[in-house]
């Protein structure tokens, strides 16, 4: 079977590219080893939170301050704005709020105000910029959320308007399981009417003007438990992202994959893209390995969204050699000399932090002379060189923006010639 586009990777970048292409009539296949970083990261869309040490108030206004070679350099601000609006429209069930013009400041599970451009409605109520009174509610027996530390840290955080924060710990109805992950807690909200319990536990213990922060476990299937809580408590309730697995991230994955399925996109998990058949500077087919062997899928275009080191899209071996694991693409941002030595202090700038694939403006990986490696190969997400997303707080933003832009790059046929020298 042949596809218009094969997308390698099912993280936010791959899902975004696939959905945009399918909505424009393409026949799309996603191949992936498994689900991507949606299940790890909070479901916020962080476009740009820090520029160096400076907190960013408006991502759109700050993008020009990024260094050359940053992935956003290939995504004009108006395209970024379009991409975010498109993203909100296609995840309507989660009700994303915000935009590229100004960052929300959402509390982390450590009580730090973190800038995000978009947040699902179940989290957006935690925006700290307006000040006010907050109560953070922990559940006894749930180890991934520590409200006393959150409240104490937030009370000392630098914020535009002062806030008050306090902590409350509640004991949920007993369960046979004493060790609960966020995923299991969320399942209890889906299946055990934990919402009832929480309403009763909170209604007389929270002041009318307090906003209520809870760990992001209010339902795995949907945010219905969150909606019900807000309605019945008559107060703002918001989820705070905590350690993986990320419940809001799983909801986001479900929302996007439902849209992909209804758009006819085929998703194959448990397989590994291992290479390509090349003809005249183009990828003719993507080779995909599963337990029984390797299968080649003929394609017109390819999106590489295999992620960075965390996802296995990039690898460093014990001899110090870095490689891109699917197509063995040339890499940019590698340290000088052969041997990688990491900096001795954890928070110092680390080598390989910005390593990845450099691209042209159509998001096509380029070689050392800035020519596309393959005319019909585009890249998106954490595989791209030039960003330190966990420091900049830009990971999910880059994924949405470049996933969208890679799709647009495929939809607008390329004119740039391909180097004869490659491969």
């Amino acid at each position: 079977m042949s596809y218009d586009t094969v997308v390698v990777g099912a993280g936010l970048a791959g899902l975004t590219a696939a959905l945009r292409l399918s909505e424009r009539g393409q026949h799309v296949l996603i191949v992936a080893r498994g689900v991507g970083a949606t299940h790890l990261a909070p479901a916020t869309v962080d476009v740009l939170g820090y520029l160096g040490d400076t907190q960013v108030a408006s991502p759109a206004a700050s993008l020009p301050g990024l260094s050359n070679g940053h992935p956003y350099g290939h995504v004009p601000v108006d395209q970024l704005t379009t991409a975010l609006a498109w993203f909100c429209a296609h995840t309507a069930a989660l009700g994303y709020a915000g935009g590229p013009g100004e960052n929300l400041l959402l509390p982390t599970a450590l009580g730090v105000p973190k800038p995000s451009a978009l947040a699902p409605r179940s989290m957006a109520g935690g925006d700290l910029r307006a000040g006010g009174r907050f109560v953070f509610v922990g559940f006894k027996g749930f180890k991934d959320f520590h409200p006393t530390l959150i409240a104490a840290n937030l009370a000392r955080a630098r914020l535009p308007l002062s806030i008050e924060a306090r902590a409350l710990e509640l004991e949920p109805p007993p369960t046979r399981r004493g060790d609960l992950s966020g995923r299991v807690m969320a399942g209890r909200f889906d299946n055990e009417q934990l919402t009832d319990w929480l309403v009763h536990a909170l209604e007389h213990r929270v002041e009318p003007d307090e906003r209520i922060g809870v760990p992001a476990v209010l339902g795995l299937r949907s945010d219905a438990p969150w909606q019900e809580l807000e309605k019945r408590l008559q107060r703002k309730v918001f989820e705070v992202a905590t350690l993986p697995p990320s419940v809001p991230g799983i909801r986001l994955f479900q929302a996007l994959s439902a849209a992909l399925r209804s758009g006819g996109v085929r998703m194959v998990f448990g397989v590994t893209a291992v290479g390509a058949r090349i003809n005249a500077g183009r990828i003719e087919a993507v080779e995909v390995a599963n337990a029984t062997g390797t299968h080649a899928y003929p394609v017109t275009s390819v999106v590489l969204a295999s992620g960075g080191f965390a996802s296995g899209g990039l690898e460093l071996d014990s001899f110090g050699t870095t490689r891109e694991t699917v197509f063995d693409l040339p890499l940019s941002g590698l340290p000088e000399g052969h041997r990688v030595r990491f900096a001795p202090r954890y928070f110092d700038e680390q080598p390989l932090a910005t390593a990845g694939v450099a691209t042209d403006d159509l998001l096509r990986p380029v070689d050392g002379s800035s020519r596309p490696v393959y005319e019909n190969l585009h890249a998106a997400g954490a595989i791209l060189a030039g960003a330190t997303p966990w420091k900049e707080k830009s990971g999910t933003g880059i994924s949405v923006a470049t996933g969208y832009a890679a799709a647009e790059g495929i939809l607008v046929p390329a004119a740039a010639p391909v180097s004869e020298a490659v491969r």
Binding site: A37, L40, A41, P42, D46, T108, A109, L110, G111, V112, P113, K114, G141, K143, D144, F145, H146, T148, L149, A152, N153, R156, A157, R158, E169, R176, R177, G178, D179, L180, A241, T242, L243, P244, G308, F309, A310, S311, G312, E315, L316, D317, S318, F319, G320, R339, V340, R341, F342, A343, P344, R345, Y346, F347, P389, W390, K391, K393, G395
Partner: protein, 523 residues
């Protein structure tokens, strides 16, 4: 228990022990068991120096059988004693010496002779049998020998000895640094000490001061204007995820670099190197040493470089040399040295015990306290070879599966704070209370928290939250110990970061920076 701050401006004891490694706590326990009032001071946490940074091999003596027969005899004797008295700290993995294609198979004959002469039980087994027991070991080995090596948990041993010493009346004072030794003429009569946590200074009067500061013994001796030449021989170790071997696997050749691979709890450790360093506190890990260990590992277990390396660290051996300079630190004897400074320099009331190795710590302690008895009114018999540590009374050796076995009947009974090392919330909370510590790094050494594959990616946020929630630290303290831990952990992670562990490190970056935004916590 151990960490109550001395609020008195002066304390008194028969014996003051300086140094909280295996030797120091061994001396303190020995002296306390003989009925002496005893105080131990350690500038940092217990077992934070050499003891907590060695590979964890309880030597059978096989390693020294050819080169250093007296060390071999001491090792096998102490090995037998510790299996009884510190059984809960010893995992009976057994040891295997193998001749790889890079080793002279004839050395095996010398090895067997040496073992026979020193009383180390050694038995040659067919290569096929060795490979059946150790399927990952290089299939091209030519000879294989079994010896009673074992794996030793250094933290458990040190804390076991410290608790036992306290049960017999000793005071164990970690984080108390010796500033000066108090002299009365030619006699050492005590020490001025600073509590490194509170900043408080106080004096300890003692009839005998025993310098058990290991590689730092020279620095302590200087305070009494005595000379102790201890060379610091730095050894590098790398912990690998999983147990690639079941037994302590040694190369059958003269001891050299990277020739030991042993299972230690859920990981395995390859060691070691031997590089002279001028300052025992300056142990920089060099890339060439990492590569050397990985290459040597590849000879023992093919595919070693593709296996996941978790953590690298360096420890410093205290190598005593009394006279001329020795070019190679491996040529310095591994036997210990007991120095009575009254006969050496005419300084009474002051002994130094150094050199040696963790396997023989008890013997070193016995020798030191025997010597102290001579200054304390006559001999009293040593009891440490007979009295087991608490937890080891029934002589049951440690089983790797014990934490799992404890949880198996009720797998979901309680929150598991560290999934890698199966540490429950109540165990963590009890330890915080007992130790009265607020340092995640101290807790790591006590419980092995954050020592598994994720290197604290998940458990450290939880542990910081629990410390704060329990009122043990304020928010600034919780944030600081979290940041300190991330820096401390990175020291061991960054030198070996590649492959799957880099992947893990990036996930941890995402957790701490991308999700929690730890770099912007108020401190």
């Amino acid at each position: 228990m151990a960490t109550q701050s001395p609020s008195l401006s002066s304390l008194e004891a028969d014996v003051l022990v300086i140094g909280g490694g295996s030797t120091g706590v061994g001396v303190a326990r020995d002296a306390a068991l003989r009925g002496f009032s005893t105080i131990l001071v350690e500038r940092s946490d217990l077992a934070d120096g050499t003891t907590g940074r060695f590979h964890g091999l309880l030597h059978s003596g096989g390693r020294y059988a050819v080169k250093d027969p007296s060390a071999a005899r001491e090792c096998i004797a102490e090995n037998r004693i510790l299996r009884l008295t510190a059984a809960d700290c010893v995992e009976d993995t057994g040891g295997l010496f193998v001749s790889t294609p890079w080793d002279d198979p004839e050395y095996g004959d010398q090895f067997l002779q040496g073992c026979k002469a020193t009383g180390v039980p050694a038995e040659e087994i067919p290569v096929a049998e060795a490979l059946r027991r150790e399927p990952r070991v290089n299939p091209d080995i030519r000879r294989a020998f079994l010896v009673p090596d074992a794996a030793l948990d250094p933290w458990k041993l040190v804390w076991g000895c410290a608790r036992s010493a306290e049960e017999h009346g000793a005071r164990i004072l970690p984080y108390c640094r010796v500033l000066y030794l108090e002299m009365d003429g030619d006699r050492v009569v005590g020490a001025d000490v600073r509590n490194e946590r509170s900043g408080e200074e106080f004096r300890i009067h003692a009839t005998v001061v025993i310098n058990a500061a290991g590689a730092w013994a020279g620095q302590i001796a200087d305070l009494a204007r005595c000379t102790v030449n201890v060379r610091a021989g730095m050894g590098l170790m790398i912990a690998m995820n999983h147990r690639l071997v079941h037994m302590c696997v040694n190369r059958c050749k003269r001891p050299a670099d990277g020739d030991i691979l042993l299972p230690l709890r859920t990981a395995c450790v390859i060691g070691t190197t031997d590089v002279f360093v001028p300052d025992p506190d300056q142990t920089e890990i060099r890339q060439e040493d990492i590569d050397l260990l990985l290459d040597e590992g590849e000879k023992l277990v093919p595919g070693f470089r593709q296996a996941r390396a978790l953590h690298a660290w360096a420890g410093v051996r205290p190598l005593f040399e009394d006279t001329a300079k020795v070019a190679e630190t491996r040529d310095v004897t591994r036997s210990h040295a007991l120095l009575d400074h009254s006969s050496r320099e005419g300084v009474a009331g002051f002994l130094t015990i150094t050199g040696g190795k963790t396997t023989t710590f008890r013997l070193m302690a016995e020798a030191a306290v025997d010597a102290a008895c001579r200054q304390l009114g006559g001999p009293r018999p040593c009891r440490t070879a007979d009295v087991p540590l608490s937890g080891s009374e029934n002589h049951a050796l440690y089983q790797i599966s014990h934490r799992l076995a404890e949880r198996e009947p009720v797998p979901q009974a309680e929150e598991i704070i560290c999934e890698c090392e199966l540490i429950t919330r109540s165990r963590l909370e009890d330890t915080i209370k007992q130790r009265d510590t607020t340092s995640l790094d101290d807790i790591r050494r006590l419980l092995r928290l954050a020592m598994g594959p994720c290197q604290g990616g998940f458990c450290i946020y939880r542990a910081a939250g629990i410390l704060h929630q329990g009122g043990h630290v304020d928010q600034a303290g919780a944030n600081q110990t979290l940041l300190d831990f991330l820096e401390e952990r990175w020291k061991g992670v960054h030198p070996i970061l590649h492959g799957d562990q880099l992947r893990q490190a990036r996930l941890d970056d995402w957790i701490f920076q991308g999700i929690l935004d730890v770099e912007h916590v108020p401190v």
